[in-house]
Point group: C2
Chain length 378, copies 2
């Protein structure tokens, strides 16, 4: 399903074919946690800002509105009116980061809902069942996200369990995909590599999960507190042990600089809440650095956020107006910033794909990184 | 500037020509208090939902970002990127309803900003200067909005002062319109009729202000606590004493039923925060009544808010999805409801205009009122 179009150094330019259309990689997935992108951005807007893949969170949708409800409404695609690919995470990360008191056992995790405190159990089978109800294009394996830092012993045990869970995920998703009333019988499973900053544990794990011949693999458990340099070093060591002819997804990462570096190390898929979260706080991206629109110097600035940007905000509104909206706590201010930031990320990926195709990725990366460092003054 | 196209009973179908284009009346103006429609609705959206006139609040823009800032940014039209007509209120209503401790004198009102408490003075001249800086299409006269109920003596004194203030407004706006650096030298002034529920005071006042031959007149100080029947009775008595060949604006009113009744009594212009405020609370309008999308019965409802509605929400999203967004406190839920409600109001005015043109307004009104009463079950 993945076709490697070309390589430029270790950077990959690929095409991933799904029942919901073709994804051009490298790609940045736009995060819509609760079946909506925060900042009043609709799926109609996503069409306009070049989004290829929408990402929703299994845990959030399980607790509200409930995956059974989404299934009755025809699955996530119909529910949120988006006919392109959707990736759902496994719920694992949220269980380990959001939920209250939890207990990890071989069969899965017992925890309390962060909404109403009710007891929930989620294991590999439950995660697959929920994701099957949501009917996303790509389901992620249920894994443990180990704390950082963790001891070597904790990490090894955790990774071993994650491997056993991956086998159970595959068995369960195969079963669900064969059921009559399953909405997306072609739902794909991506495995997740773990191991923290222990390179040897990660490599061994990468080899073991690669044997399953899944449609794609993710590198999880990074950007959890380690330095950027550690993250890049891990990618350099681990990505070569994941299948070249499958997409590689670096979960929850990151800044434009992180993405440029990770692409250079062979990563295809990205997702991160930064563009929407920063947008809601008036922090907007430009090729010459991130700027803070709350800054007084933008009060009378009639230029768009970034000159030449084709996003719906920059095509119409000025920094001065958006600053006023943010100061006046008008939701429109957040919306315009989020639209710009998501467009910026989506467009950056387009520039990245073109640079790889034209075999000038190294120069493009250096040049873009240099530009991005100019700002950060606000 | 106002052309009366036809009448059907007392209902008027007119055209109001301005430097920012022609307004078809009866019209509902969409309220964007702080140069933005609450609910993350942009001026780009307004183009899509049939908005003819945007209304902004002088008091709010004076305190933030400051009318001098808006002037430096080229006036409200350029600031918020809207080339159709804009009406600004005088600030009077907010001074009397929002501001802290205030003191009314012949020269104007001393009060404290509701943002930072700083002392502000606003009189007829100041209001005109601020509105001239904002450069709206239509400026409203600075008046006192008397409390309800008020004694006859208080009301008579207040109305007399409002008349004297109107003369000062006209003199000052004429002066401002003749200045070199004024952005909109064709800014128009609408006078405001006051008098509470004292019909004779209102009629006497209507006659006095009509003598000024202003481009339009408003009926103010209604919908402040009196019953709907009292409001309709006042309109029946006062509107005939305002010029037929000028637009009549009923300020801050109201529900679809109020509008249908007021049109029947000769009103041309309306504005109200109901559609956006109700939308933000999940209350949405349909021709068969207002519904509350928080209601559990919409959980699995895959129909649009109103079948056949051409608004951006109804063309794409279901009640079930929007309900989920509202429950999950996703800003998108509010946005979709506000877009629908504003479209509903704008479209209702279109239906009203057509019914008047076709001389079937009485039947249309009864039929529509009957439909609106069906719902209100939630």
């Amino acid at each position: 399903m993945y076709r490697l179009i070309c390589r430029d150094g270790n950077a990959k330019r690929g095409e991933f074919h799904t029942v919901h259309g073709v994804i051009q990689t490298p790609v940045f997935m736009n995060v819509g946690t609760a079946a909506a992108i925060k900042g009043a951005v609709s799926t109609t807007d996503l069409q306009e800002i070049g989004t290829q893949v929408e990402l929703s969170n299994t845990y959030h949708l399980h607790v509200r509105p409930g995956d059974e409800i989404v299934k009755k409404m025809g699955g996530l695609h119909k529910f949120m009116v988006w006919d392109k690919p959707i990736l759902t995470d496994s719920g694992g990360f949220q269980v380990f980061s959001l939920a209250g008191l939890r207990k990890i056992k071989e069969e899965g995790v017992h925890f309390n809902s962060h909404i109403d405190g009710r007891k929930i159990f989620m294991g590999p089978e439950e995660s697959m069942q929920i994701q099957s109800n949501l009917a996303s294009t790509i389901a992620m394996a249920f894994d443990e996200c180990p704390p950082h830092p963790a001891t070597r012993e904790y990490m090894q045990n955790s990774v071993d369990r994650t491997t056993r869970w991956l086998y159970r995920c595959k068995t369960e998703l195969d079963r669900l995909n064969s059921l009559e009333d399953t909405i997306n019988k072609n739902q794909m499973l991506f495995g997740i590599n773990q191991g923290g900053t222990f390179a040897d544990i990660r490599i061994e794990h990468a080899k073991r999960i690669s044997e399953l011949d899944l449609p794609g693999y993710a590198v999880g458990g990074l950007a959890v507190g380690e330095s950027h340099e550690e993250m890049y070093a891990i990618l350099e060591q681990v990505v070569p042990h994941l299948p070249l002819e499958k997409p590689t997804y670096l979960m929850g990462v990151g800044t434009p600089a992180n993405i440029l570096e990770a692409v250079d190390r062979g990563v295809d898929f990205f997702d991160c809440v930064y563009p929407s979260r920063n947008g809601r706080h008036g922090h907007v991206y430009t090729h010459t650095g991130k700027i803070n629109l709350f800054n007084a110097k933008y009060e009378l600035d009639d230029k768009p956020i970034e000159e030449g940007c084709q996003c719906p905000s920059c095509r119409n509104y000025s920094r001065g107006y958006i600053r006023h909206l943010l100061k006046a706590k008008e939701m429109l201010g957040m919306r315009l910033c989020v639209l710009h930031n998501l467009y910026f990320y989506n467009h950056l990926m387009e520039e990245i794909r073109q640079a790889i195709e034209e075999h000038r990725y190294a120069a493009f990366k250096e040049e873009t990184l240099y530009g991005l460092k100019q700002g950060e003054k606000d």
